[in-house]
């Protein structure tokens, strides 16, 4: 996999992960181009498209698009399930994940991704093992009293309205 992007229906980038060295300018250009291309596609269209010399695999979960760029010989369907497994991991960790979780706890989203995918390849597919690693880290964190988990802004939003949950996505 060359990179993974998460962006909202409004085209706001929420998470970016690059597994190939690119300049910032190039990254921005790619992001702009892909966000446009993917958002323009209709719901029933297939989840794969050719783009430059890469294959793009994307899926929409509620208000968020997950979009991966893979190489010619890579497997599209398994990439689709990489996306799903990542959503499941987020969902399990945050408990019905919503877009705001990913915005305000972006560092967790990155840590979970690093445990699951590294260097663009799947590192650990077991949900239990990935979450165990993250929870251990959280435990280390709890040793220091200055940190509290809940964040104010998130509580203000009605939970569930913008959930990215796994049950929700079944239809898309």
């Amino acid at each position: 996999m060359q990179f993974m992007l998460l962006f909202s229906r409004q085209g706001k980038l929420r998470l970016q992960k690059w597994y190939v060295p690119l300049s910032d300018k190039e990254k921005k250009k790619i992001t702009r181009e892909l966000v446009q291309t993917v958002l323009a596609r209709k719901p029933k269209m297939c989840s794969f498209l050719e783009w430059r010399d890469l294959k793009i695999v994307y899926k929409r979960y509620a208000s968020l698009y997950f979009c991966c760029a893979i190489e010619d010989q890579d497997n599209e369907l398994i990439t689709l399930e990489i996306i799903h497994r990542y959503v499941e991991l987020l969902d399990k960790y945050f408990g019905s994940v919503c877009e705001l979780d990913i915005i305000f706890n972006f560092e967790k989203a990155y840590f979970i991704l690093d445990e699951f995918l590294l260097g663009g390849e799947v590192q650990e597919t077991s949900k239990k093992n990935v979450l165990k690693a993250i929870e251990q880290a959280d435990l280390l964190q709890e040793l220091f009293p200055c940190l509290k988990r809940p964040c104010v802004a998130r509580e203000l939003y009605v939970r569930g309205r913008c959930q990215v949950s796994t049950h929700y996505c079944e239809r898309t």
């Binding site: 706001k12 980038l13 929420r14 998470l15 970016q16 597994y19 060295p21 209709k42 029933k44 269209m45 297939c46 989840s47 794969f48 498209l49 050719e50 010399d53 010989q73 497997n75 599209e76 369907l77 398994i78 689709l80 399930e81 990489i82 799903h84 497994r85 877009e99 915005i103 305000f104 706890n105 972006f106 560092e107 990155y110 840590f111 690093d114 590294l118 260097g119 663009g120 390849e121 799947v122 590192q123 650990e124 597919t125 077991s126 949900k127 239990k128 093992n129 690693a133 880290a137 280390l140 964190q141 220091f144 200055c146 940190l147 509290k148 988990r149 964040c151 104010v152 802004a153 079944e170």
Partner: protein, 930 residues
């Protein structure tokens, strides 16, 4: 989290106004900056808080230009959260050539040595995320040891494997193979499935480059696969995904096996076949779950299995089963599956065992073309139709593609046009059908018919006598349409000009009618087409003496003889003269029918390959245009390939003035000298070994990338980068033919003198370059002292039994080692005066060869490598630049001044450096550019 809370209230995700957000963020950034700069040392917690805020702001899409140092400081904290945020910041924000890398490396080294598995994991993740060359230099030796050490924890092993993979991808030369490789292979047998999953990726990538060293992986992978695939869904616990046992691992193992031919050991081979059969059988079983995840995971393994079956291409039974399975998917209700089935079948179509089986699905695929709502799926259907086409179904497939073309999406029309043109030519039993098809193509999608397509139809008609009469009749009829595409006028003009006599017997298409028909289109056409029509008219003068008068009248009219376009005017004048002064014999010789074209690879096929191939050299089209225009001296872009050797090209020039072999060496004495110019303007540049290479050399003085050389066999592209006295050049050799180039040996030749000034290092390339393929060679360059010659790249290879030799000058010039220097006006003049010794100054006064455009000139000076200094010269029209040439032995400061004189179309260029030879060389190089 707490650290971001400060920003949250302002940065609501739905976004108030963008301005308000920016304002708030700038305030926050100023606050953080003052904290970092403040006298009071920040404690770890605050540092972490602010670094985290910066990261948050960056991820909102704003640029961050500070805080890196603070993040690096966090790395050495022994608090987990602080370290973690430090590493995250670096992974996201530090790009690989940052100066901080050394500091970061030290911190990573400490964490790796500490043997705390959590910290080790963080450090390895960071290496895998940044993956720079410096990191590879520092850790490529250490990570394999961690990976195979007996006491390393599983999770660390997983990270180490993928970390090594990333480093290997970025800098393969820095990862040494060693005895660790054999131990890595055995990780396929590891008890921990996560370790196997990670290691398999690493092994696959390593095996692609070093297949022999990893050969043992084949039998290990097969045996692991045969344990995973048939497992019941409960066997693998958490590695089972929606009732599918370890789908990721299965896919990776199948992918690894695709690096190798079918196993030789019959036992292993049998076991693998069994596995593949199991995979195919499972596809037929009723689903264990209705969830799409279940079917996706199952089918991911199935498609990878089919890829392996196709890759081995040795088991007819499996190939046919795969084909049937894909056939079922073609009608599946999931769009994704239909898409993948079409894609996968394309490769199956090229196997002799399954080609027939694929063909049975033709109706389904045609139906997909008509009914699919998603253009990317239709595109796959077009690809598959193209792949399954052969002599038996070509008429049907071509007809369907033509029908589809009428409504096809604009984005894929050009490709479909090329495909139709190729299929029509390849499988034409009857050339009348071929001509009809191409004319239809022009009618339906004329705008998308590229030059190659209509050149090709003319080549074929010229070479096949049996179709010429039919072609003339058909174009004549097609031209009757009130509105026809300009490409049709081109084809019509050319064919009637050559073979109009074949239908002139019919009173409905008498010479005069033919002429009036063509001339009725004349005024609606562009200049190149009109030029072609004028040539057709002069050919008519030879074919049909009875219309000579009419044609002379047309040529004589003011709209021709005084046409504002030089090309048209010249043709009109010359043709008029030719028709009136030349005797019938001379006319017949000059205007004789074109000789057959030498048979060679279809230029359209080459174009399709190029479209699909790796587009490394970006300005290829431009170069082609520019150069062919240079050679022919005409405005029409003739195909570059035909201009290199004397193959007559059906460019817009009917007479083939540039290159036809049968054109008499001298013009008839009476023709008044004008023709001499036309005849002699072509050939000199073509006869030499590497036409235009001198021109191209000059084009590279101010730029680093592009096409250096091209003929009909070979294209040489360059990409280079220079820093101080070092440089690296990537040379791309593209084989433009469909056959192999053998004994391909490029050699770099430096004279003895040059060798002491310039050091070039490279590795030999693979002696075989496959048809349509491209190979790359890297040259490492070091400038030892200033130099003025250029190295020569000499290439020998065998093509179809003959040895070919190409030599071009390699554009490594002194100015590449320029480092721009900014300086104020005062400094500039002070230095200028210091270099007032007469040997230090070189001046050149020359005529402008290009348009005198200020912006272009600026760009060229910057491209040359000097800093362009504004507000230095009292005359704002002048250009002033400064820079330093870096050689290993010395650094030479250079000042330059360029004074344009637009009235006289002249330039004066002055160079001052401390060395006479440097001034001279730079002046000579730069003067060529304007």
């Amino acid at each position: 989290m707490v650290q971001v809370r400060g920003c949250q209230c302002a940065f609501s995700p739905s976004g108030k106004s963008r301005e308000a957000e920016t304002k708030r963020i700038n305030k926050e950034l100023a606050n953080i900056r003052s904290k970092f700069k403040g006298d009071k040392a920040l404690d770890g917690y605050s540092k972490k808080k602010y670094v985290c805020k910066l990261l948050f702001i960056f991820l909102l899409g704003h640029d961050i230009d500070f805080g890196h140092m603070e993040a690096v400081n966090l790395l050495s904290s022994n608090r987990y959260t602080e370290k973690q945020i430090g590493y995250l910041f670096i992974s996201v924000l530090v790009n690989s050539n940052s100066e901080l890398i050394r500091l970061i490396n030290t911190a990573i080294k400490n964490d790796l040595a500490g043997r705390n598995p959590t910290f080790m994991g963080l450090a390895l993740h960071c290496i895998a995320n940044v993956g720079s060359r410096e990191m590879a230099e520092a850790f490529a030796g250490e990570i394999p040891r961690i990976l195979v050490a007996g006491d390393t924890m599983d999770s660390v092993k997983q990270s180490a494997a993928l970390c090594l993979l990333r480093l290997y991808r970025a800098s393969p030369d820095l990862v040494p193979m060693g005895d660790w490789t054999s131990r890595v292979v055995h990780l396929i047998n590891d008890q921990h499935l996560g370790v196997v999953t990670a290691a398999t990726s690493l092994i696959t990538t390593l095996a692609q480059k070093n297949p022999d060293e990893f050969k043992t992986a084949v039998s290990l992978a097969v045996s692991r696969l045969s344990r995973v695939v048939p497992s019941a869904s409960t066997d693998l616990q958490d590695y089972t995904y929606y009732f599918v046992p370890a789908p990721w691992l299965s896919v990776k193992l199948l992918r690894l096996l695709q690096c190798y031919p079918p196993p030789e050991d019959p036992a292993v081979r049998g076991r693998l076949s069994e596995c593949l059969e199991t995979i195919l059988n499972k596809a037929q079983e009723p689903p264990k779950s209705k969830k799409v995840q279940h079917s996706n995971a199952k089918n991911a393994v199935l498609f990878e299995g089919i890829s392996l079956i196709i890759h081995h291409d040795s088991e007819p039974n499996l190939l046919v089963r795969a084909c049937n399975q894909l056939g079922q998917f073609l009608q599946h209700r999931e769009t994704n599956l239909r898409y993948l089935a079409l894609e996968s079948m394309c490769t199956l179509a090229s196997s002799e065992f399954s080609h027939e089986a694929v063909k049975t699905h033709i109706d389904t695929v045609i139906n997909a073309l008509k009914t699919e709502r998603d253009v990317s799926v239709r595109q796959r259907a077009v690809d598959l139709l193209y792949a399954m086409c052969d002599r038996s179904n070509a008429p049907q497939i071509v007809a369907e593609m033509l029908r589809y073309l009428e409504t096809a999406d604009y984005s894929i029309r050009e490709e479909i046009v090329l495909k139709v043109a190729i299929l029509a030519e390849k499988y034409a039993v009857d050339y009348a059908w071929y001509v009809d098809t191409i004319l239809n193509l022009i009618r339906v999608a004329g705008d998308y018919v590229s030059e190659e397509v209509w050149y090709r139809v003319i080549q074929i008609v010229t070479n096949r006598e049996d179709v010429q009469g039919y072609a003339a009749k058909t174009v004549f009829e097609a031209l009757q349409a009130p509105a026809c595409h300009e490409n049709l006028v081109k084809v019509g003009g050319y064919i009637l000009g050559e073979f109009g006599n074949l239908i002139a017997g019919d009173p409905r298409s008498s010479p005069l009618i033919q002429f009036h028909l063509l001339h009725s289109k004349f005024h609606l056409c562009s200049v190149p087409t009109r030029a072609l029509l004028l040539s057709a008219y002069i050919k008519f003068v030879n074919l049909f003496p009875e219309v000579k008068g009419t044609i002379q009248d047309v040529l004589r009219s003011d709209s021709q003889l005084r046409n504002a376009d030089v090309e048209l005017q010249q043709r009109a004048v010359e043709y008029l003269r030719l028709s009136s002064v030349a005797s019938t014999d001379i006319l017949a010789t000059v205007l004789e029918e074109m000789p057959p074209f030498p048979e060679r690879e279809s230029s359209i096929l080459a174009k399709l390959k190029k479209k699909k191939g790796p587009g490394v050299v970006t300005d290829l089209e431009d170069t082609k245009r520019e150069r062919s225009a240079d050679v022919n001296g005409g405005p029409e872009p003739a195909p570059a390939s035909s201009s290199a050797k004397s193959t007559p090209s059906p460019s817009a020039d009917l007479l083939g003035l540039g290159a036809t072999p049968h054109v008499p060496a001298g013009p008839p004495a009476s023709s008044g000298g004008l023709l001499v110019d036309v005849f002699s303007d072509a050939p000199s540049a073509m006869a030499t070994l590497a036409p235009g290479s001198e021109d191209n050399f000059a084009r590279f003085v101010c730029k680093n990338n592009g096409v250096l050389f091209e003929n009909q066999l070979l294209q040489i592209g360059l990409k280079s980068e220079f820093r101080q006295n070092l440089g690296r050049m990537f040379i791309f050799y593209g084989n433009k033919t469909s056959t192999q180039l053998l004994s391909f040996t490029p050699t770099l030749i430096c004279s003895d003198e040059l060798q002491t000034h310039l050091s070039l290092q490279t590795k030999p390339v693979d002696p075989t370059v496959h048809g349509g393929a491209q190979v790359q060679q890297v040259v490492n360059i070091e400038c030892l002292a200033h130099f003025s010659e250029a190295p020569v790249l000499s290439i020998q290879f065998r093509y179809g039994g003959t040895f070919q030799n190409v030599s071009v000058k390699l554009p490594i010039t002194l100015n590449k080692f320029f480092q721009p220097t900014e300086m104020a006006s005062q400094d500039f003049f002070q230095r200028w005066k210091q270099l007032s010794n007469p040997q230090q100054e070189v001046q050149s006064i020359f005529r402008a060869k290009h348009l005198m455009d200020t912006e272009v000139t600026k760009a060229k000076i910057i491209g040359f490598g000097a800093a362009l200094l504004e507000d230095v010269d009292p005359n704002p029209a002048n250009f002033v630049g400064a820079g330093i040439i870096h050689a290993k032995a010395s650094q030479i400061g250079c000042l330059l001044r360029l004074e344009p004189n637009p009235q006289a179309q002249m330039y004066r260029l002055t160079l001052r450096t401390s060395k006479e030879a440097v001034s001279q060389r730079l002046c000579a190089l730069l003067a060529e550019q304007f």
